[in-house]
Each structure stands twice: as C-alpha cells, then as structure tokens.
Amino acid sequence: MDRFSQVFNEVPLAEVHDLAARRAEEGWRYVQILAVNTEEGIDLVYSYMKDGLLENDTVKAVGADDAVPSITDLFLEAFVCENEIHDLYGVAIENIAIDFGGMFYQLAEKAPMTVVSPEQLAAREKAKKIAAAKAAKEAAAKGEQAAPAAPAAVAGPTEEEIQAKIAGLDPEKAAKVRAAMEAKAKKAAAAAEAAAVPAAPSAALTEEEIQAKIAGLDPEKAAKVRAALEAKAKKAAAAAGKGE
C-alpha cells in the first residue's frame, strides 16, 4: 500500500510545459492547477500524483502579460482548471484544447475577479507602512533611551499607536477602539498632570484598566494588547521613576 505524501517544488514559467510532458511520459496523474493572487503576481500551482506522492510545482509571480503555455495537449482534463484560471484570474493561457475564451463561467461581471480586493490591498499597504513607521520609531526610541523621561510615554497612546492598532481591524471595530484609546490618552494625560509626584498613578495603566480594555477583544488579540499595554505601563513607570 502506497502512503500519501506531498512535496512542494518551484518551477520557472518556461519549464511548465516540458515538465508536464515529462510527467505524462513517466505516468503521473494530473491532479489540478490552481492560482493564488500575491503581491508580486499570480502563483500557479500544478499538481501531479504518482503512487501516493503528490507533487505541487509552483510557478511564482506570473505577471499580467506573461503567456502561460497550456498543458491540455498532454492532459486534456486540465481544460477545466485552465479556463477557470483564465476567467477568474485573468491569466493568459495559450492554446487551451477546449478554449471558452472567457465564457466558461457565466458570470455577471466580465472583468476577471482578482482575489486581492482594493480594500484589502489598501489595508495591506497601510499595515506595511505602519510596520515600517513602527520599526523606525523603535529605532529612534532606542536612541532616545538615555534622554530624560520621554513625556509621550506618560501621555498614553499617541496618534501613531492608535493607527497601528487600528490597522488590522475592520472599520466599525476600529472606530470603537479609536474612541476608547483616545479616551485613555486623555485620561493618562490628566493623570500625569494631576499626580506627577506619586509615581504609581502616573504609571499609566493599572491591571484593572488592562482588564477593561481586553474584555471586548478575542483571546489572541487580547494577549497581544495585554503585552503591549504592560510594556507601556513598565515604560511609564520607568519614566516616572526617572522623573523623581
């Protein structure tokens, strides 16, 4: 009895057809072709199987104007997947044996539907920018560490921090979180002003506050938020300590 196992390989686009020919000769079964939308382009995964070994050959980052050779001359049954990838992803596949010319799926929208929607793309770009900004800020913060008591830390979350936290969330939740954080920022600022001498309250966040904040979030996010808040509380305490 053959056991099931799987392998992922990478192949250049030019070798797709030759590889299919070799596989056909060696008696592999065609399994499927799939497309994945990535930022660099579209990844095509060709799967073949022989005696329980499933090989997935990945062609990375196929561009919009790259012509992909069809393998339907070797594996006729691939016409379903190839037409689908042409219709839904807009990949130009040449010489499909049964070519529907974009009419395989009777869709209301004629344009190929990409998997990355504009909103997602925007969200991803924003997340990337924020990550970069955060990294820069961290680097800067490290440099500043020797400097006395960063007042921003006591003043609670800043605009950038709010932004960073919101990035991954959906709009309505984002609005809520933003409101909560701004309220906290105000509170922290007030606390810092009112009680500068006793260090403890100015340490920004107490355990209860963290709890209150976490309540509405799901566990994984909660863990992250908790870590972030605790780090902030420590920082604030350190700052207050230095201030004295």
């Binding site: 053959d2 065609y30 799939l34 995964v45 006729l76 016409f79 379903v80 997947c81 799926y105 929607s117």
Partner: protein, 362 residues
C-alpha cells in the same frame, strides 16, 4: 450521414438535479461532439476564506455541496491541520471516517435512486430513497443535523458517538444491508436495466488513465485508483482495503461499482466501530497558520478524489483555499464517453458519471 445539428442539453433538464449545459453536436441520432459548459451556480465560496477565520470557514466548506458536505468538512479540516502541524486524536479520526462512510452510503443510494428514475424504474427510486432516509435518521441522532452535519472542526470532532449509539448504527446498517442486497440484485440482473446500460458510454482503461479520471467512474474502467487505499487516518487501520473495480468501462460497470461500494462502506463502518479506540475527540488548536505555509491534501469523496490546498498568511484568515472536486476532473472523461453515443443514451451516461456541479463550481 445527415447534417450536423447542435442540440442544447440543460442547464434545466429532468435528468439533472444541477445546472450543467452541454452543446451536443448531433448527426442523425449520433452525438459527434460535445461541449460542456458550467458556471451557472458559481458562488465564489473560495474567496470567502478571506473574510472568515479558519475555524469558521469549515461551515462554508461543508456548504459547497449538500451530498459531499461531510467529506468537504473533513478534507478542509485535515488540510488546515496539516498546515498548522496539528495531530488529532485517533478516536476523532475514526469518528470522522464513520460519518464520511455513512455519507458515502447515503450519496450512493441517492444516486442509485436518481439513476433508476432516469431510466424509468420508479419503484426502485422509492426503495433506494427509503433506505437513504434511514441513514439520514442516523445522522440526525448522532450529529443533530440531517444533511449538513457541522460535526467536524479543526482539531477533531464536536460530538462523540457512545457505545449504545454505535450499536444502533450497526443494527440500522444491518437492516439496510438486507433490503439493499435485494434491491441491488434486482438492479444488476434486470434485463431492461442491462438493455439500457451494457456497452453504453464505454471508456477504456488507457483512456481512463490518460484522462486522469477519478472515483467510481475510473474504477469502472479497471483503474484501481482510490485515495482510501493510501491508508490516511483511520483507513490505515483497516485489515484489508481493496478498491472495487470493474473491467467493462460502460454504464453498467459504473452502476455495479457504486452498488458494491455501498456494501464496502457498510463493512468499513462495522470494522471501525469494532476497533474504535477510547480517548479524546478533539485537541485545542491555537494560533494562526504561518505566513506562506502551504499544505495540500486529497480525500476520497463519494464521487472520487478531491484535492484541497491551503495557504496561510500569518493571520487567522487563510490566504487561499482551493478545492478541486472530482467532477471537474471527470468532465473531460464525460466528453469522451459521450462522443459516438446515441442521443437517447446521453442522460444515462451523464448520470452514471454522477456529476456534482455545485461542487465543481464552488
């Protein structure tokens, strides 16, 4: 030879429960060319993976198709478990396979009823669906659902089958087996059934291999390919598993293979029930699939091999989920089988392939 005429077949056709359209190029009464067309029920379910986290998507996966629901949820869960390196308890594997094989029994009985109805054997249709109802009642008792079971989750299953329920399953299956054997013998020896099916829509073993056909369609052409024989999960503990094959490659062989697979599934369930290990039925799955991690998986659905692919992106939502269903693989074989057949045999050939269009389009 007469003039070639194009006859549209479907998407609304009495023999098809689902919308499949064929352009049949007909000369006299003979089909000379076939162009299949799908895309009437494309729902974009694969794209929904971006808006639902990987625990929630399992409920979408099982709604791809009503008949293969259990199979899709198991296939999806196994793929995500492979993606995240989760190993599920043995008992959960057994329970999954028991439900999966029960759904194979119900799927084949449903198909058998439809096929009998298609060639005018209506009392057979009633008998098959009567037996299928008992399987659905078993689902209802063990999972709380009749068609969409929602019983599999990433990391195991949500409900256990205790010993009394297991005994009931076995008793009901024994009852089904008695009645079913009578039905099956009638169907396979009946002259009028043979007249409709023997020698119709023939596919040779070479063609079946060259067209990478899967499932009972391939096995009827003497291609012994069955994903269950790889011994994944609880299938590995079966004493002996031999795919059921037939050599004729015609409609009759396909009917025969499916008929015998029902009995085989019943035997598998009984064997697994006897070997059922004790223990947990789930493990906790924490975290999210790593960015760029990918996993693929195959599973034997009632209609044949089904391929699953998942790619993570570091968040709780998967980057891509792909399901390649058995019917999509068999469409090319179907066009080959239809070429050269009589126009009156087209519906019989299509039915014996058992196309599942909702699955194919997702």
């Amino acid at each position: 030879m007469g003039k070639a005429t194009v006859i549209p077949f479907g998407p609304q056709h009495p023999v098809l429960p689902e919308p499949l359209h064929l352009d049949l190029v007909v000369q006299d009464e003979t089909v000379v060319d076939v162009l299949p067309q799908i895309g009437f029920v494309h729902r974009g379910l694969e794209k929904l993976v971006e808006t639902r986290d990987y625990n929630q998507f399992i409920y979408i996966a099982e709604r791809i198709c009503g008949i293969c629901a259990t199979g899709h949820s198991i296939g999806y869960a196994e793929t995500v478990e492979a993606l995240m390196g989760v190993e599920i308890p043995k008992r959960a594997e057994y329970l999954r396979i028991i439900w999966h094989e029960l759904s194979r029994v119900h799927s084949h009985l449903l198909w058998l009823g439809l096929a009998a109805d298609a060639f005018g054997f209506e009392s057979m249709f009633m008998h098959c669906w009567r037996l299928r109802e008992r399987v659905l009642d078993l689902f209802e008792k063990t999972t709380g659902g009749r068609v969409i079971l929602s019983v599999v989750k990433v990391g195991g299953v949500v409900r256990d089958i205790d010993a009394t329920q297991m005994a009931e399953i076995i008793a009901v299956l024994d009852g089904i087996k008695d009645d079913y054997t009578k039905i099956m013998n009638t169907l396979l020896t009946d002259t009028s059934v043979k007249n409709r099916t023997v020698g119709v829509g023939h596919i040779s073993t070479e063609d079946a291999r060259a067209l990478s056909m899967v499932g009972p369609f391939a096995r009827a052409s003497n291609l012994p390919y069955d994903v269950r024989s790889f011994g994944k999960g609880a299938y590995g503990d079966l004493a002996d598993f031999q795919p059921i094959v037939a050599t004729e490659g015609d409609c009759y062989a396909r009917v025969k293979v499916r008929c015998l697979e029902v009995l085989q599934s019943i035997e598998i369930i009984k064997e697994l029930a006897a070997k059922m290990p004790a223990g947990d039925i789930e493990v906790a799955v924490k975290g999210a699939p790593a960015d760029g991690a990918q996993a693929s998986n195959v599973l034997e659905q009632p209609r044949g091999e089904c391929y699953y692919y998942a790619r993570g992106n570091g968040s709780k939502n998967l980057e891509r989920m792909r399901i390649r269903t058995p019917t999509s693989q068999n469409l090319a074989g179907m066009t080959v089988a239809l070429k050269g057949c009589d126009l009156a045999d087209v519906n019989m050939i299509i039915l014996t392939i058992d196309p599942c269009i909702s699955c194919t389009e997702r």
